[in-house]
Amino acid sequence: MLQTNNYSLVLLIQLALLTYDLFVNSFSELLRAAPVVQLVLFIIQDIAILFNVIIILLMLFNTYVFQVGLVSVLLERFRALLLLSALYLALSIALHCWILNLRWLNSNRFVWTDGLQTFFVFQRLAAVLYYYLYKRATEYLGDPRLYEDSPWLRDAFVRARQ
C-alpha cells in the first residue's frame, strides 16, 4: 500500500521538476546572455524530463496492478503520457542541440529560420500536453485501488486471462 507521506513527497518532486521545466521553457530565451547558462539550463531540463519519466515508471511498477501482471490495464491509461513524454524528451534534446549549436559562438544573434520556428512550436506544444498528461497521471496514481486487491482488479484479471 502506498503511504500518503511517500506519495506526497514523490508528488512534490514531480511537480517541482515540472515547474522547473515550465520555467526554462518560458524564460530560457531571456537567459541567453552567456551560452553556458543556457547549456546548463537545458541539460538540467532534459535530465528533469528523464527523471520525471523514470519516477512515473517506478510508480507504475509499484502498483499492485502491475505486480499482478495487468500491465495492459496500466498501459491503457498511461500510454498517451509515456508516448508523449518520450516524444517531448526527444524534441527537447533536439531543439536544445539545435539552438545551442546556432548560438554557441554568438549568443545574441538572430538564428531563426522557418524550420527552427516550426520545431520550436511543436516542442512547446508538446511541453504543454506533457504538463497536462503528467500532472493528471501523478494525480491518478494516488488512486488507492491501484495499490490493493479489489473486485475491480479481480474482474480485470479474469478478463485478461480469457
Partner: protein
C-alpha cells in the same frame, strides 16, 4: 492363567508403542526431557493397562510414581524398585496384586477410561473394586499430590501419540471458546466470538487513522492547481488586453508610428512573449483539466455540446499556437537596437509588424473570450469529478468498455 498370559502378550505392543515415538518429547526443554519421557511411558502403560487386560504394567508404573515422588507415604515403600524391574520383565501373575492398587492410586485416570475397563474380563474388575475399597483411604492421601504432577506433565503429550498411532483422530479440532491472540508482544486469551469484533474495529481504525489518503492528496493538489489556473486565466486575459493596448498606443493611429513602437517596445517584446507562454501554458493545462481532455469521449461530448470549459480549452490552445508562431518576430523586435539591414531592412517595419500585431490582437481576443467562458462556470471541473468518482464509477465504466469489444 490364560487370562494373565493374554494380558502379558497384549501388553507388549503397548510398551513398544511409546518407544516408536522418540521425537515427541524432544519438543520439551532439555532439563525436563528425561522426566517427561519416563512419565510419558508410565502413563502409556497405565492407559494401556486400563484399556486392555494388561494392567500389570500400569499398576507398577503408578506405584513407581508414587514411590519416587512421595517417599513419606507408607504403602509404596513395601516394594523396592529392583523387584519391580524384575517383575516388569517377567510379568508374573503376582503383579496383578500390585496392579490392582493402580486404579485406587489413579482414580481420575481410571474414571476417565472407565467405560473401556468394563469391556475386559469381569473378574479383574471385581477384584480391583474390592481392593479399591480397602486401599482407597490410604492411597488417596498418597496420590493427591502426584495427581497434580501427572496432570502437568502427561496431560498434554501422551494422548496425541496414542490417537495418532492406534486410531484415526476423532474430532481433535473441537471449537474452544478461548483463542490466544498476540497483543503487545504477549499472547492473551480472547473469546472466539469476540475475535470478529476487534478485527472490525481495527478495520475502522485503519480507515480512520490516516487523515489524508493518497487520493485526498491528489485531490488537494488538483484543487490547488485549479486555484492557480483560475488566477492565471484572469491575469492572462488582463495582461493580453494590456499588451495589445500598449502596442496599439505605441504604434499610433493606423500603425503610422511603427519605428516608435520598435524603439519603445523592443525591450518588452521578449519578456512579454515569455510571460505570455508561461500564462498560456498554465491556463491551457487548467482548461484541459476542466474538460478532462484525456477522456476523449468526455472531451468530444463537451465540444459538441459547446461546453464552456471545452470552448475555453480550444481557445487557449489556439492562442498558444498563435503566440508561439510569433516567437521569431518577437526575437526580431528584441534585437532591433543591434539590428543590421538584413534583419530590419528599411521600410519593412509595416510588413513585419502588422501580422504580429494582428496575431497578438487575436490572441488577446481568444484569451479574453476563454476567460469569459471559464468565469461563467468557475466551479466546473470534470477531472475533479473523475478523481472523486474513482472508486465508485470507474468499475462499471471499465466493465462497459470491456464488454463492447467482446
Amino acid at each position: 492363567m490364560d487370562l494373565e498370559t493374554s494380558k502379558s502378550t497384549r501388553a507388549r505392543p503397548s510398551r513398544r508403542g511409546p518407544r516408536a515415538l522418540p521425537p515427541m518429547p524432544s519438543q520439551d526443554t532439555g532439563d525436563e526431557m528425561p522426566l517427561a519421557k519416563t512419565k510419558k511411558k508410565k502413563y502409556k502403560k497405565e492407559a494401556d493397562g486400563v484399556e486392555e487386560p494388561g494392567m500389570e504394567m500400569g499398576g507398577v508404573g503408578s506405584r513407581r510414581q508414587s514411590e519416587s515422588r512421595e517417599p513419606l507415604t507408607p504403602e509404596p515403600q513395601d516394594i523396592p524398585p529392583q523387584k519391580k524391574k524384575k517383575k516388569k520383565k517377567l510379568q508374573t501373575p503376582e503383579l496383578g496384586a500390585y496392579q490392582e492398587e493402580d486404579p485406587a492410586g489413579q482414580p481420575e485416570l481410571v474414571n476417565g477410561d472407565g467405560g473401556e475397563q468394563h469391556t475386559d474380563g469381569e473378574e479383574v474388575t471385581r477384584k480391583t473394586k474390592k481392593k479399591k475399597k480397602s486401599k482407597t483411604p490410604e492411597m488417596h492421601y498418597a496420590n493427591e499430590l502426584s495427581v497434580e504432577d501427572d496432570d502437568i506433565v502427561t496431560d498434554v503429550q501422551p494422548p496425541i501419540p496414542q490417537h495418532s498411532l492406534f486410531s484415526a483422530p476423532l474430532g481433535h479440532s473441537q471449537p474452544v471458546g478461548k483463542v490466544f491472540v498476540e497483543r503487545n508482544k504477549r499472547f492473551q486469551a480472547a473469546d472466539r466470538l469476540d475475535l470478529g469484533k476487534p478485527s472490525d474495529q481495527v478495520d475502522d481504525f485503519m480507515e480512520v487513522k490516516p487523515l489524508w489518503s493518497t487520493r485526498d492528496v491528489a485531490m488537494r493538489v488538483h484543487s490547488g492547481f485549479r486555484v492557480i489556473g483560475l488566477f492565471s486565466h484572469g491575469f492572462l486575459a488582463g495582461y493580453a488586453v494590456w499588451n495589445i493596448i500598449v502596442v496599439y498606443v505605441l504604434a499610433g493611429d493606423q500603425l503610422s508610428n511603427l519605428p516608435n513602437l520598435l524603439q519603445q517596445y523592443h525591450s518588452l517584446a521578449y519578456p512579454a512573449q515569455s510571460l505570455l507562454y508561461l500564462l498560456l501554458s498554465i491556463s491551457t493545462v487548467s482548461a484541459f483539466d476542466r474538460v478532462n481532455l484525456a477522456k476523449a469521449s468526455m472531451a468530444l461530448r463537451g465540444f459538441l455540446t459547446l461546453d464552456p470549459a471545452a470552448l475555453a480549452s480550444f481557445l487557449y490552445f489556439a492562442a498558444l499556437i498563435l503566440s508561439l508562431s510569433q516567437q521569431m518576430t518577437s526575437d526580431r523586435i528584441h534585437l532591433y537596437p543591434s539590428a543590421n539591414e538584413t534583419l530590419w531592412p528599411p521600410g519593412s517595419e509595416h510588413q513585419i509588424l502588422q501580422p504580429w500585431i494582428v496575431v497578438n490582437l487575436v490572441v488577446a481576443l481568444f484569451v479574453g473570450l476563454a476567460w469569459v467562458f471559464i468565469s461563467t462556470r468557475p466551479e466546473m471541473d470534470y477531472t475533479e469529478e473523475f478523481l472523486m468518482a474513482m472508486e465508485v464509477e470507474e468499475y462499471p465504466r471499465l466493465d462497459d468498455k470491456a464488454e463492447i469489444p467482446a
